[in-house]
């Protein structure tokens, strides 16, 4: 080997026998080679370690920042309560209902308005400016109004959740309707397609990927809306449990409730992502990448 290298260095290449195969591998840095589960586990451990250190040196008062261990212990307590069908499961079920109903209303309303705005000149010119104006309002501020209109039950939370989540659906739907290119529109014209046929057979299918990214945004926002509604309007949901725990300075409980709540958001998000893979099969995209981008 040493001899061979020496020969090459001296430019005596012609004299060397060319090997049968010249296979070589591109260098890939270790950070790009780490398996996903290893990197995720490492991040989790790192996070917990930093948390534990902050706790031990009392950088933040232990009264308001629990230790990781306390939090994990409380995760088990809450998990057990949920699994045995105790009052927390009831609270979770109430919040789930609010999320699902709010989501359905946001999707139906957002889709209808999105079609109006994306398909008709009337919608684009007259309706859209009002919708944009509504969207710029701090929607959370409407919570007391919804409570006074709809009471302390789930109605006011559903309304707030739908109100916070419906705008991305409008934007996604309307943007999707504009996604069909000039050629495709001309082709439909030459085939004598009616406006309705063009909408149903060309514009809506073309816009599906946009529509679904609107849905994914809505799926996340709807949980925010439901919980904020519970903070501000009482009721018996998960948000109320968090509020009570926080008032009692039971910070481990707050953390573990938030973690379980995030599972609810994750579940709605993944349902939408699954529907997208199922119904927009032609649009290949990595769900993980898009999740990261948000």
């Amino acid at each position: 080997m040493m001899h061979a290298q020496g020969a090459t260095v001296h430019g005596d290449v012609a004299a060397e026998a060319v090997p049968e195969q010249t296979i070589w591998a591109e260098h890939v840095s270790w950070i790009d080679r780490v398996p996903r589960w290893v990197s995720m586990l490492a991040l989790m451990i790192g996070f917990l370690a930093v948390w534990q250190i902050i706790y031990l040196i009392e950088l933040i008062s232990p009264i308001i920042l629990p230790s990781p261990l306390e939090t994990i212990q409380d995760l088990f307590v809450v998990g057990k309560n949920l699994l045995t069908g105790d009052y927390m499961l009831l609270a979770l079920w109430i919040t789930t209902q609010e999320v699902l109903l709010g989501f359905i209303i946001a999707v139906v309303l957002g889709f209808a308005l999105g079609v109006l705005v994306g398909e008709t000149a009337f919608g684009e010119r007259a309706v859209m400016p009002y919708l944009v104006a509504i969207n710029t309002m701090p929607k959370v501020a409407f919570a007391p109004l919804f409570v006074s209109w709809l009471g302390f039950g789930i109605g006011s939370k559903v309304a707030l959740a739908a109100f916070i989540a419906f705008f991305p659906v409008i934007v996604g739907t309307a943007a999707g309707l504009h996604a069909a290119d000039q050629n495709a529109r001309m082709l439909f014209k030459t085939m004598g397609a009616s406006r309705w046929q063009t909408l149903v057979q060309l514009k809506l299918p073309t816009g599906m990927p946009h529509f679904f990214s609107g849905l994914k945004n809505a799926a996340v926002l709807v949980v925010v809306g439901a919980v904020v509604g519970e903070f501000l309007g009482g009721g018996k949901g998960f948000g109320e449990l968090i509020r009570v725990a926080a008032a009692q300075l039971n910070t481990p409980r707050v953390f573990s409730l938030i973690i379980y709540l995030s599972l609810l958001g994750l579940a709605t998000f993944w349902i939408v992502a699954w529907m997208q893979r199922r119904f927009v099969f032609w649009h290949k995209e990595s769900v993980a990448e898009e999740t990261l981008a948000q």
């Binding site: 050629n183 495709a184 001309m186 082709l187 439909f188 014209k189 060309l202 099969f281 032609w282 290949k284």
Partner: protein, 272 residues
């Protein structure tokens, strides 16, 4: 210049016979809002079973002419008549093909091909055309790809499917808007020869818009050269090379002479 002074007289190719299928008389188009005079008194007769091409610099009104012929735009003046009936909008006996195949990714090849039938006559009628569509798929050499989605087709294969979709309604005239210009050079030559074969087999009347002089010459019986702003036909050149032509025809000195003639006409236009 001498040619332009003939404005008003019809510029017609010599030596072509056959039943007139598509007739344009004095077709002009002005876009009032932008004050653009896009087309000026264009006269054109497409005869049955002939292949015509127009060639001209960009902005000469080629696409405007094609849109008028497809019934996508009305002319400002003049008459547009296909098979004895005026063209007052899109018609099923007009087949059109674009630079992009424009296949819909949620439909299989077969479903894409019968789409024009489905739009006009409904789903049941479209299903009844499946056998015919399969025959067309055979004709263009796409056998075995009936049930795949467009993402699995190459650019050339997608254009073959677009040809089938154009032919499924049995149109009286085929309007081709630079159909293969998005393909690579090799596929493009090959697809042009395929197009010739398909047109000869079906005795199709075709009208091609292109930027490529060799492509216009190899495919056409007559090539119309257009001048820009306002777009009008400068000359009609009859291509009397024998059919079927092959890629070797491009080596024929007569082919070279025709290409040279068209190029010099276009160069004159550019420096006016």
């Amino acid at each position: 210049m001498a040619v332009l002074s003939m404005a008003g007289d019809a510029i017609a190719p010599v030596g072509l016979t056959g039943r007139p299928v598509y007739e344009l008389r004095g077709v002009s188009k002005t876009f009032a809002r932008r004050n653009v005079h896009a087309l000026d008194k264009v006269d054109l007769v497409l005869r049955e079973g002939t292949f015509s091409a127009i060639i001209g610099p960009s902005g000469c009104g080629k696409s405007t002419l094609l849109k008028i012929m497809a019934g996508l735009q009305p002319p400002s003046s003049g008459s547009v008549v296909l098979e004895g009936k005026p063209v007052m909008g899109p018609r099923r006996d007009i087949g059109m093909m674009f630079q992009q195949a424009t296949l819909f990714p949620w439909r299989t090849t077969l479903e894409n091909i019968v789409l024009p039938i489905e739009i006009r006559d409904g789903k049941a009628a479209a299903r009844a055309k499946y056998d015919e569509a399969r025959q067309l798929i055979d004709l263009v050499g796409l056998k075995g790809f009936e049930n795949v989605y467009p993402s699995e087709l190459s650019g050339g294969m997608a254009q073959r499917a677009a040809i089938c979709r154009m032919l499924i309604t049995e149109p009286a005239v085929l309007l081709l808007d630079e159909p293969f210009s998005a393909l690579d050079e090799l596929s493009r030559d090959f697809m042009n020869m395929e197009l010739q074969r398909i047109c000869l087999e079906r005795n199709a009347t075709a009208f091609l818009v292109t930027h490529s002089i060799p492509e216009a010459v190899i495919l056409s019986d007559v090539v119309y050269v257009m001048s820009p702003r306002p777009g009008r036909f400068v000359e009609a050149i009859t291509i009397d090379l024998p059919r079927p032509r092959t890629l070797d025809t491009m080596a024929d000195p007569r082919f070279g002479a025709l290409v040279h003639r068209i190029r010099s006409l276009l160069d004159q236009g550019a420096f006016q």
